[in-house]
Protein backbone atom coordinates (compact mmCIF):
# COMPACT_ATOMS: atom_id res chain seq x y z
CA UNK A 1 0.00 0.00 0.00
CA UNK A 2 1.35 3.38 -0.95
CA UNK A 3 1.29 5.85 1.90
CA UNK A 4 1.55 9.58 2.06
CA UNK A 5 4.28 10.23 4.58
CA UNK A 6 4.81 13.66 6.07
CA UNK A 7 8.36 14.09 7.35
CA UNK A 8 8.94 16.06 10.51
CA UNK A 9 12.52 17.30 10.42
CA UNK A 10 13.62 18.63 13.83
CA UNK A 11 15.76 21.76 14.11
CA UNK A 12 19.07 19.96 14.68
CA UNK A 13 18.53 17.63 11.71
CA UNK A 14 17.57 20.55 9.51
CA UNK A 15 20.63 22.60 10.38
CA UNK A 16 23.38 20.17 11.43
CA UNK A 17 22.44 16.82 9.91
CA UNK A 18 20.35 17.43 6.77
CA UNK A 19 21.87 14.24 5.34
CA UNK A 20 19.67 12.28 7.76
CA UNK A 21 16.56 13.87 6.26
CA UNK A 22 17.83 13.34 2.71
CA UNK A 23 18.46 9.68 3.51
CA UNK A 24 14.92 9.28 4.76
CA UNK A 25 13.58 10.86 1.59
CA UNK A 26 15.63 8.49 -0.58
CA UNK A 27 14.62 5.42 1.45
CA UNK A 28 10.90 6.15 1.40
CA UNK A 29 11.03 6.93 -2.30
CA UNK A 30 12.76 3.61 -2.91
CA UNK A 31 9.92 1.92 -1.05
CA UNK A 32 7.47 3.71 -3.34
CA UNK A 33 5.76 6.07 -0.93
CA UNK A 34 4.70 9.67 -1.46
CA UNK A 35 6.44 12.32 0.63
CA UNK A 36 5.37 15.60 2.09
CA UNK A 37 7.15 18.13 4.28
CA UNK A 38 5.97 21.29 6.03
CA UNK A 39 8.84 23.77 5.72
CA UNK A 40 7.21 26.15 8.22
CA UNK A 41 7.74 23.58 10.99
CA UNK A 42 11.09 23.32 12.73
CA UNK A 43 10.57 22.76 16.42
CA UNK A 44 8.22 20.48 18.35
CA UNK A 45 8.31 22.73 21.41
CA UNK A 46 10.29 20.43 23.62
CA UNK A 47 12.85 22.93 24.99
CA UNK A 48 10.28 25.17 26.74
CA UNK A 49 8.24 22.10 27.70
CA UNK A 50 11.20 20.50 29.44
CA UNK A 51 12.11 23.78 31.11
CA UNK A 52 8.64 23.94 32.65
CA UNK A 53 7.30 26.79 30.47
CA UNK A 54 4.31 24.97 29.06
CA UNK A 55 2.49 28.07 27.81
CA UNK A 56 5.46 28.95 25.62
CA UNK A 57 5.74 25.32 24.52
CA UNK A 58 2.09 25.29 23.48
CA UNK A 59 2.69 28.34 21.30
CA UNK A 60 5.08 26.30 19.19
CA UNK A 61 3.16 23.06 19.50
CA UNK A 62 -0.16 24.43 18.24
CA UNK A 63 1.56 25.30 14.96
CA UNK A 64 2.57 21.65 14.72
CA UNK A 65 -0.99 20.53 15.45
CA UNK A 66 -2.31 22.95 12.83
CA UNK A 67 0.17 22.02 10.13
CA UNK A 68 -0.04 18.27 10.63
CA UNK A 69 -3.77 18.05 11.21
CA UNK A 70 -4.49 16.61 7.78
CA UNK A 71 -1.34 14.51 7.45
CA UNK A 72 -1.85 10.77 6.92
CA UNK A 73 1.31 9.58 8.65
CA UNK A 74 4.03 11.64 10.31
CA UNK A 75 7.55 10.23 10.54
CA UNK A 76 10.32 11.72 12.69
CA UNK A 77 14.05 11.03 12.63
CA UNK A 78 14.37 11.38 16.39
CA UNK A 79 12.97 9.33 19.26
CA UNK A 80 12.98 12.38 21.45
CA UNK A 81 10.90 14.61 19.19
CA UNK A 82 8.78 11.53 18.46
CA UNK A 83 8.09 11.14 22.16
CA UNK A 84 7.21 14.82 22.36
CA UNK A 85 4.54 14.45 19.68
CA UNK A 86 3.35 11.00 20.73
CA UNK A 87 3.49 11.15 24.52
CA UNK A 88 4.11 14.64 25.86
CA UNK A 89 1.64 16.53 23.64
CA UNK A 90 -1.05 14.55 25.45
CA UNK A 91 0.13 16.00 28.75
CA UNK A 92 0.75 19.45 27.30
CA UNK A 93 -2.74 19.74 25.83
CA UNK A 94 -4.56 17.85 28.59
CA UNK A 95 -7.80 19.65 29.49
CA UNK A 96 -7.43 22.14 26.62
CA UNK A 97 -9.46 22.56 23.44
CA UNK A 98 -6.74 20.85 21.42
CA UNK A 99 -6.63 17.69 23.56
CA UNK A 100 -8.31 15.55 20.89
CA UNK A 101 -6.06 16.98 18.14
CA UNK A 102 -2.99 16.15 20.20
CA UNK A 103 -4.18 12.59 20.70
CA UNK A 104 -4.97 12.19 17.00
CA UNK A 105 -1.54 13.49 16.01
CA UNK A 106 0.15 11.16 18.50
CA UNK A 107 -1.62 8.17 17.01
CA UNK A 108 -0.43 8.83 13.47
CA UNK A 109 3.11 9.88 14.37
CA UNK A 110 6.00 7.42 14.30
CA UNK A 111 9.70 7.35 14.90
CA UNK A 112 11.59 6.32 11.73
CA UNK A 113 12.60 2.73 12.63
CA UNK A 114 9.28 2.03 14.34
CA UNK A 115 7.49 3.17 11.18
CA UNK A 116 9.61 1.06 8.84
CA UNK A 117 9.32 -2.14 10.87
CA UNK A 118 5.89 -1.95 12.48
CA UNK A 119 3.88 0.13 10.01
CA UNK A 120 5.49 -0.76 6.68
CA UNK A 121 6.67 -4.23 7.67
CA UNK A 122 10.09 -3.52 6.17
CA UNK A 123 13.26 -4.81 7.79
CA UNK A 124 15.51 -4.98 4.73
CA UNK A 125 16.20 -1.88 2.67
CA UNK A 126 18.89 -3.63 0.64
CA UNK A 127 21.65 -1.56 2.18
CA UNK A 128 25.34 -2.47 2.34
CA UNK A 129 27.72 -1.10 4.95
CA UNK A 130 30.79 -3.29 5.41
CA UNK A 131 31.77 -2.05 8.88
CA UNK A 132 31.49 -2.96 12.54
CA UNK A 133 29.20 -0.53 14.36
CA UNK A 134 27.84 -0.09 17.86
CA UNK A 135 24.33 1.06 18.78
CA UNK A 136 23.12 3.78 21.12
CA UNK A 137 19.54 3.58 22.40
CA UNK A 138 18.19 7.11 22.71
CA UNK A 139 16.31 7.33 26.02
CA UNK A 140 13.05 8.74 24.78
CA UNK A 141 12.83 6.29 21.90
CA UNK A 142 13.67 3.42 24.21
CA UNK A 143 11.65 4.26 27.30
CA UNK A 144 8.86 6.56 26.17
CA UNK A 145 8.21 4.79 22.86
CA UNK A 146 9.48 1.28 23.65
CA UNK A 147 11.72 1.04 20.56
CA UNK A 148 14.54 -1.44 21.02
CA UNK A 149 14.25 -4.37 18.62
CA UNK A 150 13.23 -2.40 15.51
CA UNK A 151 16.53 -0.66 14.71
CA UNK A 152 18.45 -3.84 15.49
CA UNK A 153 16.26 -5.77 13.07
CA UNK A 154 17.00 -3.19 10.37
CA UNK A 155 20.75 -3.25 11.04
CA UNK A 156 20.84 -7.05 11.01
CA UNK A 157 19.79 -6.97 7.34
CA UNK A 158 22.45 -4.51 6.24
CA UNK A 159 24.95 -6.48 4.19
CA UNK A 160 28.44 -6.57 5.67
CA UNK A 161 27.43 -4.77 8.88
CA UNK A 162 28.45 -6.24 12.21
CA UNK A 163 26.66 -4.91 15.30
CA UNK A 164 28.78 -4.99 18.46
CA UNK A 165 26.64 -3.99 21.43
CA UNK A 166 28.26 -1.76 24.03
CA UNK A 167 27.75 -2.29 27.76
CA UNK A 168 26.16 1.13 28.20
CA UNK A 169 23.92 1.02 25.09
CA UNK A 170 20.80 1.91 27.09
CA UNK A 171 22.47 4.47 29.38
CA UNK A 172 21.68 8.12 28.76
CA UNK A 173 24.37 9.97 26.76
CA UNK A 174 23.84 13.08 28.89
CA UNK A 175 22.30 15.39 26.31
CA UNK A 176 18.85 15.98 27.77
CA UNK A 177 18.22 19.21 25.84
CA UNK A 178 18.62 22.27 28.06
CA UNK A 179 20.06 19.99 30.76
CA UNK A 180 23.29 19.91 28.72
CA UNK A 181 23.58 23.69 29.07
CA UNK A 182 22.24 24.04 32.61
CA UNK A 183 24.42 21.29 34.05
CA UNK A 184 27.32 21.01 31.58
CA UNK A 185 29.70 19.18 33.92
CA UNK A 186 27.20 16.38 34.59
CA UNK A 187 26.18 16.22 30.95
CA UNK A 188 29.78 15.87 29.77
CA UNK A 189 30.56 13.26 32.45
CA UNK A 190 27.61 11.20 31.24
CA UNK A 191 28.83 11.61 27.68
CA UNK A 192 32.23 10.30 28.72
CA UNK A 193 30.66 7.16 30.22
CA UNK A 194 28.96 6.60 26.86
CA UNK A 195 32.04 7.19 24.70
CA UNK A 196 34.21 5.00 26.93
CA UNK A 197 31.75 2.14 26.54
CA UNK A 198 31.53 2.72 22.78
CA UNK A 199 35.30 2.73 22.36
CA UNK A 200 35.50 -0.62 24.15
CA UNK A 201 33.59 -2.23 21.27
CA UNK A 202 36.52 -1.44 18.94
CA UNK A 203 34.25 -0.12 16.19
CA UNK A 204 34.44 3.05 14.11
CA UNK A 205 30.77 4.05 14.16
CA UNK A 206 28.11 4.76 16.75
CA UNK A 207 24.69 4.44 15.17
CA UNK A 208 21.43 5.64 16.71
CA UNK A 209 17.91 6.62 15.79
CA UNK A 210 18.18 9.93 17.62
CA UNK A 211 20.16 12.74 16.06
CA UNK A 212 20.10 14.86 19.20
CA UNK A 213 21.96 12.19 21.18
CA UNK A 214 24.40 11.76 18.30
CA UNK A 215 25.12 15.49 18.27
CA UNK A 216 26.10 15.29 21.93
CA UNK A 217 28.06 12.05 21.64
CA UNK A 218 29.95 13.35 18.58
CA UNK A 219 30.79 16.51 20.51
CA UNK A 220 32.30 14.51 23.33
CA UNK A 221 34.07 12.07 20.96
CA UNK A 222 35.67 14.95 19.06
CA UNK A 223 36.84 16.69 22.21
CA UNK A 224 38.35 13.40 23.39
CA UNK A 225 39.82 12.83 19.88
CA UNK A 226 38.41 9.33 19.87
CA UNK A 227 38.29 9.01 16.08
CA UNK A 228 34.78 7.53 16.08
CA UNK A 229 31.92 8.85 14.00
CA UNK A 230 28.22 9.04 14.81
CA UNK A 231 25.73 8.08 12.12
CA UNK A 232 21.96 8.17 12.07
CA UNK A 233 20.30 4.86 11.29
CA UNK A 234 18.82 6.39 8.11
CA UNK A 235 22.31 7.27 6.88
CA UNK A 236 23.44 3.67 7.31
CA UNK A 237 20.34 2.29 5.58
CA UNK A 238 21.03 4.74 2.75
CA UNK A 239 24.37 3.11 1.92
CA UNK A 240 25.27 0.70 -0.86
CA UNK A 241 22.38 1.10 -3.25
Amino acid sequence: MIMKITLFIPCFVDSFYPQTGRAMVRIFEKLGHTLDYKPQLTCCGQPPFNAGYWDESRKVAVKVLDALGDAERVVIASGSCGAMLKVFYNELFKDTLREADARALGEKTFEFSDFLVNELGVTDIGAKFPHAVTWHDGCHGLRELGIKTEPRALLSNVEGLELREMGEAATCCGFGGLFSAKFPSISVAMGQVKTKSAVETDTKYIVSNDGSCLMHIQGVLDRERRGMKCLHLAEVLNQGW
Binding site: V87, N90, E91, K94, R103
Partner: protein, 243 residues
Protein backbone atom coordinates in the same frame (compact mmCIF):
# COMPACT_ATOMS: atom_id res chain seq x y z
CA UNK B 1 -2.13 18.11 73.86
CA UNK B 2 -0.04 17.91 70.70
CA UNK B 3 -0.78 14.17 70.37
CA UNK B 4 -4.50 14.50 69.85
CA UNK B 5 -4.34 17.63 67.77
CA UNK B 6 -1.61 16.37 65.43
CA UNK B 7 -3.47 13.12 65.00
CA UNK B 8 -6.59 15.03 63.98
CA UNK B 9 -4.63 17.50 61.87
CA UNK B 10 -2.98 14.71 59.92
CA UNK B 11 -6.13 12.64 59.48
CA UNK B 12 -8.15 15.59 58.28
CA UNK B 13 -5.36 16.67 55.90
CA UNK B 14 -5.43 13.13 54.50
CA UNK B 15 -9.18 13.20 54.03
CA UNK B 16 -9.03 16.59 52.31
CA UNK B 17 -6.24 15.42 50.01
CA UNK B 18 -8.03 12.22 49.08
CA UNK B 19 -11.20 14.05 48.14
CA UNK B 20 -9.42 14.68 44.81
CA UNK B 21 -9.09 11.39 42.93
CA UNK B 22 -5.75 10.38 41.41
CA UNK B 23 -5.02 8.35 38.26
CA UNK B 24 -4.38 4.64 38.72
CA UNK B 25 -0.72 3.68 38.89
CA UNK B 26 1.14 2.12 36.00
CA UNK B 27 0.28 4.70 33.35
CA UNK B 28 0.57 8.42 33.34
CA UNK B 29 -1.63 11.34 32.57
CA UNK B 30 -2.79 11.53 29.00
CA UNK B 31 -1.70 8.02 28.08
CA UNK B 32 -4.63 6.20 26.53
CA UNK B 33 -3.62 2.55 26.93
CA UNK B 34 -2.10 1.06 30.05
CA UNK B 35 1.32 -0.55 29.64
CA UNK B 36 1.60 -4.23 28.76
CA UNK B 37 1.29 -5.65 32.28
CA UNK B 38 -2.12 -6.94 33.31
CA UNK B 39 -4.48 -4.63 35.16
CA UNK B 40 -6.28 -6.28 38.01
CA UNK B 41 -10.02 -6.25 38.30
CA UNK B 42 -9.84 -5.60 42.00
CA UNK B 43 -6.97 -4.31 43.93
CA UNK B 44 -4.95 -7.29 44.88
CA UNK B 45 -4.96 -6.43 48.56
CA UNK B 46 -8.70 -6.51 48.89
CA UNK B 47 -9.10 -9.82 47.11
CA UNK B 48 -9.91 -12.84 49.21
CA UNK B 49 -6.92 -14.46 50.84
CA UNK B 50 -7.02 -17.50 48.59
CA UNK B 51 -7.20 -15.55 45.33
CA UNK B 52 -4.42 -13.22 46.46
CA UNK B 53 -2.19 -16.14 47.41
CA UNK B 54 -2.70 -17.99 44.16
CA UNK B 55 -2.02 -14.83 42.13
CA UNK B 56 1.20 -14.15 43.99
CA UNK B 57 2.35 -17.69 43.36
CA UNK B 58 2.26 -17.10 39.61
CA UNK B 59 4.67 -14.14 39.87
CA UNK B 60 7.16 -15.09 42.56
CA UNK B 61 10.12 -17.37 41.82
CA UNK B 62 8.97 -20.94 41.08
CA UNK B 63 9.31 -23.57 43.81
CA UNK B 64 8.29 -26.93 42.35
CA UNK B 65 5.50 -29.27 43.35
CA UNK B 66 6.97 -31.87 45.68
CA UNK B 67 8.63 -31.87 49.09
CA UNK B 68 11.82 -33.12 47.44
CA UNK B 69 11.80 -30.19 45.03
CA UNK B 70 11.37 -27.80 47.96
CA UNK B 71 14.23 -29.46 49.84
CA UNK B 72 16.46 -29.19 46.75
CA UNK B 73 15.54 -25.53 46.40
CA UNK B 74 16.24 -24.84 50.07
CA UNK B 75 19.62 -26.55 49.61
CA UNK B 76 20.42 -24.48 46.50
CA UNK B 77 19.40 -21.24 48.21
CA UNK B 78 21.47 -22.19 51.25
CA UNK B 79 24.53 -22.60 49.07
CA UNK B 80 23.95 -19.11 47.65
CA UNK B 81 23.34 -17.62 51.11
CA UNK B 82 26.19 -19.51 52.79
CA UNK B 83 23.78 -21.24 55.15
CA UNK B 84 24.85 -24.72 56.20
CA UNK B 85 21.92 -27.00 55.31
CA UNK B 86 21.91 -30.54 56.72
CA UNK B 87 19.11 -32.90 55.84
CA UNK B 88 19.08 -35.79 58.32
CA UNK B 89 17.55 -39.16 57.49
CA UNK B 90 16.42 -39.73 61.07
CA UNK B 91 17.03 -38.67 64.65
CA UNK B 92 20.07 -40.89 64.89
CA UNK B 93 21.67 -38.94 62.05
CA UNK B 94 20.62 -35.66 63.68
CA UNK B 95 22.53 -36.69 66.79
CA UNK B 96 25.60 -37.63 64.76
CA UNK B 97 25.48 -34.33 62.90
CA UNK B 98 25.17 -32.36 66.15
CA UNK B 99 28.18 -34.19 67.58
CA UNK B 100 30.12 -33.45 64.43
CA UNK B 101 29.21 -29.75 64.63
CA UNK B 102 30.27 -29.69 68.28
CA UNK B 103 33.67 -31.14 67.41
CA UNK B 104 34.18 -29.04 64.26
CA UNK B 105 33.34 -25.77 65.98
CA UNK B 106 34.84 -26.54 69.38
CA UNK B 107 31.66 -25.70 71.28
CA UNK B 108 31.85 -25.71 75.05
CA UNK B 109 28.79 -23.70 76.01
CA UNK B 110 25.50 -23.40 74.17
CA UNK B 111 22.50 -21.16 74.55
CA UNK B 112 19.10 -22.73 74.01
CA UNK B 113 15.44 -22.80 74.93
CA UNK B 114 13.26 -25.67 76.11
CA UNK B 115 11.61 -27.63 73.34
CA UNK B 116 11.38 -31.12 71.96
CA UNK B 117 14.20 -30.78 69.46
CA UNK B 118 16.38 -28.46 71.51
CA UNK B 119 16.12 -30.80 74.51
CA UNK B 120 17.27 -33.59 72.26
CA UNK B 121 20.20 -31.45 71.17
CA UNK B 122 21.15 -30.63 74.76
CA UNK B 123 21.07 -34.30 75.68
CA UNK B 124 23.15 -35.27 72.63
CA UNK B 125 25.78 -32.58 73.03
CA UNK B 126 26.29 -32.84 76.78
CA UNK B 127 27.79 -29.36 77.03
CA UNK B 128 27.27 -26.52 79.45
CA UNK B 129 23.71 -25.38 78.70
CA UNK B 130 22.50 -21.81 79.06
CA UNK B 131 18.72 -21.75 79.03
CA UNK B 132 16.99 -18.45 78.27
CA UNK B 133 13.39 -19.48 79.09
CA UNK B 134 13.22 -17.89 82.53
CA UNK B 135 15.15 -14.75 81.71
CA UNK B 136 18.86 -14.38 81.17
CA UNK B 137 21.87 -12.12 81.37
CA UNK B 138 22.77 -10.89 77.88
CA UNK B 139 26.49 -10.89 78.66
CA UNK B 140 26.29 -14.58 79.52
CA UNK B 141 24.29 -15.36 76.39
CA UNK B 142 26.84 -13.51 74.29
CA UNK B 143 29.57 -15.82 75.60
CA UNK B 144 27.78 -18.94 74.29
CA UNK B 145 29.45 -20.57 71.29
CA UNK B 146 26.10 -21.19 69.62
CA UNK B 147 22.41 -20.50 70.03
CA UNK B 148 20.27 -23.54 69.28
CA UNK B 149 16.61 -22.93 68.46
CA UNK B 150 13.53 -24.44 66.92
CA UNK B 151 11.45 -22.48 64.44
CA UNK B 152 7.98 -22.14 62.92
CA UNK B 153 8.89 -23.08 59.37
CA UNK B 154 11.51 -23.20 56.66
CA UNK B 155 10.75 -21.41 53.40
CA UNK B 156 12.18 -23.11 50.31
CA UNK B 157 11.58 -20.17 47.95
CA UNK B 158 14.06 -17.93 49.74
CA UNK B 159 16.01 -20.33 51.96
CA UNK B 160 14.59 -18.59 55.02
CA UNK B 161 13.92 -19.67 58.58
CA UNK B 162 10.60 -18.37 59.87
CA UNK B 163 10.67 -18.03 63.62
CA UNK B 164 9.01 -16.04 66.38
CA UNK B 165 10.03 -15.14 69.90
CA UNK B 166 7.62 -17.92 70.97
CA UNK B 167 9.06 -20.70 68.81
CA UNK B 168 12.73 -19.77 69.03
CA UNK B 169 13.37 -18.84 72.68
CA UNK B 170 12.73 -15.12 72.62
CA UNK B 171 14.10 -12.31 70.52
CA UNK B 172 17.81 -12.55 71.20
CA UNK B 173 18.89 -16.20 71.37
CA UNK B 174 18.90 -16.56 67.59
CA UNK B 175 20.93 -13.42 67.02
CA UNK B 176 23.47 -12.74 69.76
CA UNK B 177 25.67 -15.90 69.78
CA UNK B 178 28.12 -16.18 66.86
CA UNK B 179 26.55 -19.36 65.49
CA UNK B 180 22.81 -19.93 65.11
CA UNK B 181 21.70 -23.54 64.83
CA UNK B 182 18.10 -24.22 63.84
CA UNK B 183 16.53 -27.65 64.18
CA UNK B 184 13.37 -28.22 62.18
CA UNK B 185 11.08 -31.11 61.35
CA UNK B 186 10.66 -32.17 57.73
CA UNK B 187 6.99 -31.24 57.79
CA UNK B 188 7.98 -27.68 58.67
CA UNK B 189 9.42 -27.10 55.20
CA UNK B 190 7.04 -24.82 53.28
CA UNK B 191 7.21 -24.04 49.58
CA UNK B 192 6.97 -20.25 49.51
CA UNK B 193 6.37 -16.91 51.20
CA UNK B 194 2.57 -16.89 50.70
CA UNK B 195 2.47 -20.25 52.53
CA UNK B 196 4.56 -18.78 55.34
CA UNK B 197 2.08 -15.95 55.89
CA UNK B 198 -0.83 -18.37 55.77
CA UNK B 199 0.88 -20.47 58.41
CA UNK B 200 1.36 -17.47 60.71
CA UNK B 201 -2.29 -16.55 60.39
CA UNK B 202 -3.52 -20.08 61.02
CA UNK B 203 -1.13 -20.76 63.84
CA UNK B 204 -1.42 -17.55 65.81
CA UNK B 205 -4.81 -16.15 64.85
CA UNK B 206 -5.13 -12.80 66.56
CA UNK B 207 -2.61 -13.64 69.22
CA UNK B 208 0.64 -12.98 67.44
CA UNK B 209 3.96 -13.17 69.23
CA UNK B 210 5.45 -9.67 69.50
CA UNK B 211 8.31 -10.57 67.15
CA UNK B 212 8.07 -12.74 64.06
CA UNK B 213 10.63 -12.85 61.36
CA UNK B 214 12.41 -14.41 58.47
CA UNK B 215 16.08 -15.17 58.91
CA UNK B 216 17.73 -15.62 55.53
CA UNK B 217 21.34 -16.69 55.82
CA UNK B 218 23.89 -15.62 58.38
CA UNK B 219 24.16 -11.91 59.26
CA UNK B 220 25.71 -10.06 56.33
CA UNK B 221 26.77 -6.66 55.05
CA UNK B 222 27.94 -5.15 51.79
CA UNK B 223 28.50 -1.69 53.20
CA UNK B 224 32.20 -1.64 52.30
CA UNK B 225 32.58 -1.40 48.52
CA UNK B 226 29.50 -3.66 48.09
CA UNK B 227 31.70 -6.64 49.06
CA UNK B 228 29.88 -9.37 51.01
CA UNK B 229 31.04 -9.95 54.58
CA UNK B 230 29.29 -12.40 56.90
CA UNK B 231 28.71 -11.84 60.60
CA UNK B 232 28.16 -8.09 60.58
CA UNK B 233 26.31 -7.91 63.90
CA UNK B 234 24.43 -11.18 64.16
CA UNK B 235 25.65 -14.76 63.73
CA UNK B 236 28.61 -15.44 61.46
CA UNK B 237 27.27 -18.93 60.83
CA UNK B 238 23.78 -20.30 60.32
CA UNK B 239 23.19 -24.05 60.36
CA UNK B 240 19.79 -25.53 59.52
CA UNK B 241 19.29 -29.16 60.54
CA UNK B 242 16.15 -30.75 59.13
CA UNK B 243 15.01 -34.12 60.42
Amino acid sequence: MPTTSSRETILSAIRRALAVPAPKPGHHAGESEPQQEPQFQNTFSILGQEAATSQKRTWLPPVGESWDAWADLFAANSLDLKTQWILCADEAELKTQLQRLRAENGWTKIGLHRGELTDLAAETLGLENFYVDDGYDAHQLEKCDAGITQCDALVAQTGSVLSTNQSAGGRVLSILPPHHVVIARREQLLPDLPAAFELMQEKYGDNYPSLMGFITGPSRTGDIERILVLGAHGPKKLTVLCV
